[in-house]
């Protein structure tokens, strides 16, 4: 027990260290740096993947509605944060829309700009999560009676329907139909500027990573609680779990709603990162990307999801880009052309799935204290002590 607490403390220090590292990188690198882009996007995907892992990996509910809940969160955040004087321009086809306030703006007018920005954005994120959670509750009532493939199909169907629904013309005054939502408070607003409008301290990446880390920590705490154990019990054996007095319907719903809550926050963060929101990109393909991250990282491993989110986003956005450029001409073939990166990427995924059947991390978590001991043994050349080997 003591061992475990020590381990979680080390993990906390490690997480804080990462945030500090991101902060330092952000000050040193130009804001157009690919590394920062990858960090931002992978942090958002990590949160989405962790929220999906809670449902698919820990509770054993195979749901494919993640992109739908992210879209709800993104819309909720964007709609509630377009400044009032910009509404006429954003909702130009819908007479400025029917919602005429902005959460961040409203709080700023009371508490001042800095506190207003921080509290306003945090509050909006929570609201975005709650809206997604309410949708999840309503959908969960009928859908959670299904199991396995049927649940997957039902949630997939929901995600597609909700995407079409949000683009509906009649909803235009709220969702702006199929047009872009823009001009709302975004990550760049967190950068500290001097009086001439020049950025002195970059904070946009740090603040994003900080929020994601906090959310993942909350999910991790939940998984290590009685709730988490009950989720895992339901995943392993529903009948036995019921015999232990675990209320199946209640716990499935809790997992579904909490997962949607954090997916909603991930969606809202994606909106902040992209600075615009439109329903079109929240397709099934996005759910599959997140599912892929979960599977590659290890179904049932939170740290696995985070690591694989970084690798996935890095590989698809950055490291494999050179494959799309025609300037490297191998043996006079024109094999390297736009789109070839995706071919290589698919092959890499297949190799990972073949050789790491349980994903990079399996069901294990990254244990910094254990990693430290491993390094120590590597350098001192000592063998593992027998009892410690397997103790989790």
């Amino acid at each position: 027990m003591i061992e475990k607490k020590k381990g979680s403390k080390a993990n906390l220090i490690f997480a804080l260290g990462l945030v500090v590292l991101v902060f330092v990188l952000e000050q040193l690198l130009p804001s157009s740096s690919m590394l920062l882009t990858v960090i931002k996007k992978s942090a958002i995907y990590a949160l989405a993947a962790v929220s999906m892992n809670l449902l698919n990996g820990f509770t054993g509910l195979f749901s494919l509605g993640q992109a739908g809940f992210m879209m709800i969160g993104a819309y909720a955040y964007a709609i509630l944060n377009v400044p009032t004087d910009q509404r006429a321009a954003v909702y130009q086809y819908f007479d400025g829309g029917i919602i005429q306030f902005s959460i961040t703006e409203g709080i700023s007018s009371v508490l001042g700009n800095v506190a207003g920005l921080i509290i306003g954005v945090l509050l909006s994120l929570v609201v975005a999560g709650l809206v997604a959670a309410v949708f999840a509750y309503l959908i969960g009532l009928p859908v959670l009676r299904f199991r396995g493939d049927y649940l997957a199909v039902a949630t997939l169907g929901f995600a597609e329907i909700i995407r079409a629904f949000f683009q509906w013309d009649k909803l235009g005054p709220i969702t702006n139909g199929s047009n872009l939502l823009r001009k709302f408070t975004n990550l760049a607003d967190f950068n500290i500027k001097n009086s001439t409008g020049q950025v002195i301290i970059n904070l946009s990446t740090t603040i994003l990573v900080l929020i994601v880390a906090a959310c993942i920590m909350i999910i991790a705490m939940m998984i290590n609680s009685t709730y988490g154990r009950s989720f895992k019990a339901i995943r392993d054996d529903e009948t036995a779990a019921e015999a232990m007095g675990i209320n199946l319907a209640k716990h499935k719903m809790t997992s579904f709603v909490v997962s949607a809550f954090f997916a909603g926050i991930a969606g809202a963060l994606l909106a902040m990162y992209q600075t615009t929101v439109q329903a079109a990109p929240f397709k099934t393909a996005m759910t599959y990307e997140i599912l892929l991250i979960v599977v590659i990282g290890g179904i049932g491993s939170l740290s696995g999801s985070c690591i694989s989110a970084f690798i996935f986003v890095g590989a698809s956005e950055w490291w494999l880009r050179f494959l799309d450029e025609e300037k490297y001409n191998i043996l006079n073939t024109h094999i390297l052309r736009s789109g070839f990166r995706k071919v290589v990427f698919s092959v890499i995924i297949m190799i990972i799935v073949l050789f790491f059947r349980k994903g990079i991390m399996g069901e294990n978590e990254l244990n910094i204290a254990g990693f430290g001991r491993w390094l120590k043994r590597l350098f001192t050349g000592k063998k593992k002590p027998a009892i410690e080997t397997e103790a989790k």
Binding site: T226, R229, S230, K232, A233, R235, D236, D237, T239, A240, A241, E242, A243, M244, G245, I246, N247, G300, E363, E390, A391, K392
Partner: protein
Amino acid sequence: MLKITDLKVAYGGIQALRGISLEVPDGKIVTLIGANGAGKSTTLRTISGLVKAASGTVEFNGQDITGKPSNQVLEAGIAQIPEGRRVFPNLSVLENLKVGAYLRKDADGIAKDIEWVYQLFPRLKERYWQLAGTLSGGEQQMLAVARGLMSRPKMMMLDEPSLGLAPLVVQDIFKIIGEINKQGVTILLVEQNANMALKIADYAYVLETGTITREGTGLELLNDESIKEAYLGKTKAAK
């Protein structure tokens, strides 16, 4: 302690229990024996609320628990060890025990009871970190019993604890069941291994196609000619 009166259960059109009545007195071991499909498991599942009764009542300590959901039955003090062990394979031994204490809120009591079951099953203490799915069959059965004990039940229902286990391991398990009973837990045991079950039981019921055909003390039934013929293998050595 537990009193079942004229209990009838049907799965669709099939009558699984045709009106059985039985009683489990406080502090005793009562066993229910019978062939495949006699309705033994159905009886347990109905008591624990996993199956709904068509008619009849189940009373526990004077409280009517017929048709109550399983968490309320468990709260009333009846734990069920399901057939085929049903441990959670991807949870560690310790986690399995903690899930067993799911309905309890007293952290100190839980920690104390974990020590208690470790004393009953030293093997589990050795392997507390191991995933339950990697335990041997006998160890999994021990874990299933230990997990049931974690809810601090007044009565424990065991469904075929000897299923698929080596004879020596079966003996161990039955020894522990006797030990648990001595520590004050009433036992309702369902078994196909009639020989072992009757030896340990204070009282026994024989179930045949949904009706109780015989009852008596364990020893009486053990020495009964027709029982020997039907369940014990009618050889001289059986005595």
